[in-house]
């Protein structure tokens, strides 16, 4: 069956449709989960987290829009993995200089509503390899040494790129700068 049909069946409570989504998206969900917990939790933990993601899909099957299931699963996967990691290890932790990204706006909580889309656009605008480094650090919680090992860079080089990314992000997310198109 195709995804449109599977989603319609899922919403009607068809368990086989859920299994269809599990079969199709476990590699994707598993990759996100393992990018976060790999090396810190066991494979069994990772599989349980992945299962939790699909169970959340089952419980909230009316929520994901057609064509957006992958992104919906990805967001849940990150959330579940980070929560589990924090509960069991206290990670990920910020380094002292990463606390400088105290982003604020006129309304206080900048990252609400449409500004979340601005964040994604700003991250995308970082360009390679900074975008990947930024996501590995702040989406997955990987450490600078881990990122460096994956990308063949020294940890300090990774930290420098992260700092540059944070500086750029802070400028981008300031409402005035974004509205003028100075990305």
């Amino acid at each position: 069956m195709d995804e449109t049909t599977a989603l319609a069946r899922l919403r009607r409570g068809d368990e086989r449709a859920l299994e269809w989504f599990v079969s199709r998206y476990t590699p994707y969900v598993g990759a996100i989960v393992w990018s976060i917990v790999g090396g810190r939790l066991t494979v069994q933990d990772g599989e349980e987290i992945a299962a939790d993601v699909f169970l959340e899909l089952w419980r909230s099957r009316e929520k994901p829009r057609e064509g957006a299931v992958r992104g919906y699963l990805g967001a849940i996967a990150r959330s579940r993995a980070i929560d589990r990691l924090r509960r069991e290890t206290g990670q990920p932790e910020l380094e002292y200089d990463e606390l400088d990204l105290a982003v604020e706006g006129p309304e206080g909580d900048l990252l609400a509503g449409e500004d979340r889309e601005a964040l994604l656009a700003a991250v995308d605008a970082l360009g390679p390899p900074d975008r990947e480094i930024f996501l590995r650090r702040y989406y997955y919680g990987q450490s600078a040494p881990e990122i460096g090992q994956r990308l063949g860079m020294k940890p300090e080089a990774v930290r420098q790129r992260l700092k540059r990314g944070r500086d750029l992000l802070r400028r981008m997310l300031t409402k005035g700068a974004f509205e003028s198109g100075n990305i």
Binding site: D2, E3, T4, A8, G13, D14, E15, L18, E19, V22, S23, T26, P27, Y28, V29, G30, A31, I32, W34, S35, G38, V43, G46, E47, A50, L55, W58, E62, K63, R70, Y72, G74, A75, R78, S79, I82, L94, L101, V103, L110, E114, R116, E117, L119, L120, A122, V123, D124, A125, L126, G127, P128, R131, L135, Y138, Y139, G141, R150, G181, I183
Partner: protein, 580 residues
Amino acid sequence: MEIFDMFDGLCPEDLPLDDSPIDTSRVLGLVRAEVKGARGKPRRLGRAVRTGLIAAAVAAFMGVTAYAAYEFFIDKYVIEQPATLETEEEAAERSWTRVSLTGYQGTPEYEAYTEWEAYESDWWEKARENDPWQALGVDDSWHETPDNYAYLYNAYFQEQADALDAIVEKYGLTLHQAEAPYYQSKDLYEALGTEPFFSEPVADVNGDWDVSGYIYDDGSFKAEFDENLSGDRTVSIQMFVNAKGSFATISGVTELTEDCEAWQYTTKSGRSVDLYLAPNSAEIMTESEGAYMDVGVLSGSAPSFDPSTSPQLNEEEKRYWIENLLKREPDLTEAEQEAAWQAHYDETVAREQSLLPPAITREELETIADSVDFAVLADRFDGTAHPDTADMLPVLKVREAERFSRPSADEITELEAASEEVIAQWDIFQLTPLAGYEDAFLSGHRLDGHTLEWADQPAGDVVTRQYMGGNGGGVIELSWYRFYADEGRTVSATAEVLGSAREFYEEQGCSVSELEVNGCEGFVFSDGTHEAQAAWYDAERDLLFMLGAYNAGLDADGVAALAATVTVQPKPLATPIPLP
């Protein structure tokens, strides 16, 4: 706000994805177990739940006219009224009633089930204030009871297991010891040692997934499959066969309405069954000396989509949808916003209604009943010993693991080598930068052996370039494909797929127009809100191009104009395109 928290609820496109050891088959097993209620939180419903109404079929076999003893004939099976469901809107709108699918009032199976449910509900109510796992300092996957108690009956703590044992002993029943999934009807027949008893299941496109479900060590099983009605109408079926004398926690929900009807029917195999037809559900029920049998049809006499109960169309969703619309078209008046929402609303309702299962008639329900050979099952579950399927369960688990196995290291190496070979043979094309997207991000990837939804043949090769971000936001994606009619990749099927793609989008209700791009034939469409696509076939290079714009502020004309700027020229790869 901490920077990690900024990404809560978000999922960027094109995340860096590394290999993971997380196994699909094990995740599937965990999910299946939980959906069937094997883990964790208090469950509101029985382990296998679906819509349906149980008629008082048993009366016929017992030689007792039970109808007169009850206000409604379903009362014999009622467990909970109204039912508590995952979707509260459904419960409110349709007054669902939950009924047992394993026995009825007065039978040991039913009485044990309801007593266990009452115990469970009370236990979890008390435990809710103090998470029992947290109190023990263990993960919520931990259990101190044997696996079958935990995974098949939700008894994770010894106290619960002791209570379950007491109930089971009180009613002279036995517990299931194990279960295993299956994905083909032949596996089910092999496990039970019977001749085939489904005559009309619809196989998937690969032809090897027709009936799936799970089976226990005593032969009790669940089966799910699709069945063809007349024409191209297909309905989904969920069937349960539960061995008498075995303790099971399986329930369904009924639909109480004046439009229901029930009658008895004798199937072609000579078995008398009770049929029930409601607007959104239908049931076929019978029993033998050794088992209760129930066939639920996920359709009814008048399936309907009620927009007032749909989260896709409620006020919160409307507000969110209009907010997104205003990002692309900030100058819309309130009247224009309302009109746009109404168009989206009407389109969504039409789409949901088009996805409803077909309505079924009395005659079609009888035909479905004929498609299950209850006589074969009655012979197998004849009241003597339960079918012993324990030896087959490990075999079925191995087959499941083989079905969902990841490619081996050698297979991955072969895929990578084939990918590099194909990429080296292709010209690489440059998309002229679009104004406003000069700073956008480029990415590329290749899919191999991926079956696309609108191509009824194995996909050949595809390369994609994505443009994301920029002042306008959204995503623009240019892909080029080459399809093959044979596994050896010697015969092209690319030209035919252009037609398949067009048909697919037309069937989705998109308004599709002709398009010519640099002398190449194609088509273009827009969904009127956030998506527009153009596709064209380059015969000289045997490549199908697809240019899509998502939330990029481009309509069909805009995408067509952009397509005209795609320049076809050889370009060496600056860096290797990584595999997903």
